[in-house]
Symmetry: C2
Subunit: 202 residues, 2 copies
């Protein structure tokens, strides 16, 4: 058979992420993760030394997916203001509609309360997200496409609001309805600043 083997750890991490994001981290044991990838626990422990390593690998998988998705959602737009709006819309959608996202991130946050490694991992992701929005907003403002008096304040509030929205959506299912999703996007954008209307030459 001679499996190339280099992809196996990723396969295992993917199986772990799939289970974690539906049944939670504590709700899944190592036997089930192994079974999800078609192997047994003995093999799983050959690739990862502990459950925590599996969790951190699943985190990295999540971060990679996020990078790809938000890049795909924004890069289709030419104008920077549109990119910013698309990035916010993508984030809101994933907060409100993506149950896997909510389950996984909530568990990771809870785990960060006690585990410094997991906390460091998530801190890195938060930093990356913040840099993304800061950079995009600054560029949109610099290009004269968006008006925002205090970009740092705006992005800070945006980040907090999005985390809060994701959390509260668990308790307010009606906030996940399409019309409320759009309203949430508008509210978040109005919190950021306002678009500069395109100058249409006559």
């Amino acid at each position: 058979m001679a499996t190339i083997s280099s992809a196996k750890p990723d396969e295992l991490a993917a199986a772990a992420f799939a289970l974690f994001s539906t049944r939670g981290i504590a709700g899944v044991n190592m036997d089930e993760i192994a079974a999800g990838a078609g192997v047994t626990k003995g093999s799983l422990y050959w690739h990862y030394a502990s459950k925590k390593e599996v969790i951190l690998a699943a985190c990295n998988l999540y971060y990679s997916a996020w990078r790809i998705q938000i890049a795909g959602a924004t890069e289709v737009h030419e104008r920077l203001a549109d990119q910013l709006e698309a990035a916010v819309a993508f984030s809101v959608r994933s907060c409100l509609l993506d149950d896997a996202n909510r389950v996984f991130t909530t568990e990771i946050v809870a785990m960060s309360l006690y585990d410094a490694d997991v906390r460091a991992s998530w801190t890195g992701f938060l930093d990356e997200t913040e840099r993304f929005f800061l950079g995009l907003t600054h560029r949109a403002v610099g290009a004269g496409e968006f008006r925002c008096d205090d970009v740092d304040r705006a992005v800070d509030l945006l980040m907090a609001s999005m985390e809060g929205i994701k959390q509260i959506a668990l308790f307010r299912p009606q906030s996940c309805l399409p019309e409320n999703e759009q309203r949430t996007c508008r509210r978040l954008m109005s919190l950021m600043g306002e678009r500069v209307p395109v100058h249409v030459p006559v």
Copy 2:
């Protein structure tokens, strides 16, 4: 001895809350909860049928403490705008500085992912909190002390931001510094609307 006994369940719940809020719900077992109240597990199970009942009792204790604290923080002010500002300041402070608050609520939110009873309990608390801020803001606006075009939007964003701030503070210790705490309060208030200056007769 003949202990009055009526206070015992609350004592047990208080011991449970103290442990939950420092070491998490999953990190505390029934023996430790009982020991924290000076009894053994047998007694604990005489008062509560399951660990979940203990958890829900600890939740109710938390809600009661919140009611008392936020009432105490606001009622010292005469003007409604001041009350609103004090309520926001209290919430921010408890989000940023109160580790027990963060640990307990994060665990409850994570538990709500899978347990409908816990979720219902926390939903009730969120509703209560929202009603509190909606009512206070509406009254402040009605009394002409505060200007806010869309109270529903403002309170929605406020609730989301506060939950997000509490969560993100775990990963950004510097946001808990006093100067950043005040800045956060100002940002949240600016998100709500603006105070109407007191009319000082000359």
